[in-house]
Point group: none
Chain length 340, copies 2
């Protein structure tokens, strides 16, 4: 059930190597960035060289992490590759193609450290623990195995991976192992308040003001099972918000008690409406989106509609109500994987 020691062959390989290249997956998230930066610090603390290389940019919210400015970003390998590196450590990546730099992986032995169900065991060494709440937690166990004390900055990098991958200790992977690792990392100097500030308390003022505008339009339908909200160009202008500022605002209507499906309808500059859909559990909003030329996943999808704003709202609520009441929907969905 997780919390097991890092394997001996991995410990040996890390002790023997002198320089490591660390990478993760495209569109890196908190666990990808935090586990790589934490491991890089750990290796340097052991007197080894470590370079983090990600194909994609580090998202803004992870840039305060110590060392993020040193990440090598892009499709081209860092200087000296492959000769100066003893091995490539791939973190939080279920398959080679997801690294975005697959063609370079053959140049050096690969150490695959991951917690994804369905990891393809593509490494020379593979340490896959699907019970680990985050790969950063596995790096913490690696540090224990290597008997290297963590510096506070390293502990913060690894602590952040726990926070992002457990949704702030709100998902089902907020296990005893996750909380024990958090306790230990905080003892080593991780700073929960600071990490939370990086992740959650750095909202631009217009984003909150825009949320306020949107919440004025919040309605529920179908006896509370559907929630809808609107965003207009006028609202964006009134609060001085940029187009990207509505990202994530659909989480507000999503948090209404008892709601199973949600739509946020955003008026675009050309007067058409971007319809965002979210659902809980079995309601398949991707299907609705696809039928209207859009796309997404079962629980998060979107498409574009033309027409009068309230007319669009009525139409979308109707579509969601149909999906909600469709017979057999649950049976079909039950056959899909529930993996994260």
């Amino acid at each position: 059930m997780g919390g097991m020691k890092a394997p001996e062959d991995l410990l040996r390989r890390v002790r023997q190597g002198n320089r490591f290249l660390l990478t993760s997956h495209v569109n890196p998230d908190g666990d990808a960035i935090g586990s790589a930066l934490g491991l890089a610090r750990l290796l340097r603390r052991m007197g080894k060289g470590a370079v983090v290389w990600n194909r994609d940019e580090t998202p803004t919210i992870y840039r305060p992490l110590p060392g993020s400015e040193r990440i090598h970003v892009g499709a081209e390998p860092p200087a000296g590759f492959p000769d100066v590196f003893d091995a490539i450590i791939v973190l939080e990546c279920p398959s080679p193609d997801r690294t975005g730099i697959e063609q370079y992986l053959g140049e050096r032995p690969v150490i695959n450290i991951d917690h994804h169900l369905g990891n393809q065991h593509y490494g020379t060494i593979n340490w896959v623990d699907t019970a680990a709440p985050a790969v950063g937690e596995m790096v913490y166990r690696l540090a224990q195995g290597l008997k290297v004390a963590l510096e506070p900055e390293t502990a913060s990098c690894l602590y952040l991976t726990l926070v992002t991958d457990t949704g702030g200790f709100r998902f089902s992977n907020a296990t005893p192992v996750a909380f024990e690792a958090a306790a230990s990392l905080v003892r080593d100097g991780a700073h929960p308040e600071q990490v939370a500030q990086w992740l959650y308390e750095s909202q631009p003022l217009p984003v909150l003001r825009l949320a306020g505008e949107m919440l004025q339009t919040l309605q529920v339908h179908e006896g509370g099972r559907i929630a809808s909200a609107l965003l207009t160009q006028e609202m964006f202008a009134r609060v001085g918000a940029a187009p990207g500022d509505s990202e994530g605002l659909i989480d507000y209507p999503r948090s209404v008690a008892g709601v199973e499906a949600v739509t946020l309808i955003r008026e675009r500059e050309d007067g058409t409406h971007k319809v965002s859909l979210r659902s809980r559990g079995e309601v398949d909003v991707e299907k609705i989106a696809r039928q209207h030329g859009g796309g997404g996943h079962r629980n998060a999808a979107g498409f574009v509609l033309e027409g009068d704003r309230e007319e669009v709202r009525r139409r979308v609520v109707e579509l969601l109500a149909e999906a909600l009441n469709a017979p057999g929907e649950a049976d079909q969905a039950g056959q899909e994987s529930t993996g994260r």
Copy 2:
């Protein structure tokens, strides 16, 4: 540094008693409700009687907690008081008057369990641990001292106190002790995902609408270091919100990037204003609150002010600006305990 064992005289008194009355402070929060319900379950598990009596209503978001429907609410004591009770256990309450039922406390021995700095030690027995992340964490230690295994529901009640008092493990009291207690409570059957759903994804519609109203009044001051927002009786009426529905709304202005101190000013039915304060780091808002007849912790406090709404806002922002710019504030604060 917290995590110390429950004192022997308390353990003895609890073992000896047969029926306990449990209470907390007016306007009960998650720690007040969760620690009382958790302790009541613990006592019943030991074969003892336990009644929770709070002067004020249980806020909606805490009503899913097991046993919340059995809380005796109001200014009148529960049936049989005082004769049937051996002692009154007051949880999370720094002074007798804050219970709202002060006149009844003299009727029975009082056991005072709290983590507030400045607790007045008003009990026959006083267990005050300012390093405890939540009083619920102290109840957890009490259970350990009493050697009573926790049921999953009890563990969830106590786990919730950790979540609410540490702001979802985001405040400075998200200490190793807090995470270790969380790990242990989850092992005992607390359900982080469910608690998160109660707290964060079960918002009554009026709460979100009220948030929308409040966000319309959001302002920043002092170059963005202070944020303020208002709630009026008119807003409550317009969205159909109950008084308890504003609980937690101060977290919205608190999440603005760069903000160090926050106030939410809520008009009460009698026309006076409840001033809630939050701060980051060294800014001591408890001091401000205390000087105005209120109380709280260094980073979370409140008091009541009379006067015109915008006048109150101006005055409070002024007080926060003074605290923010006070020389030596950090030095003074450094000498205090870091308990909440």
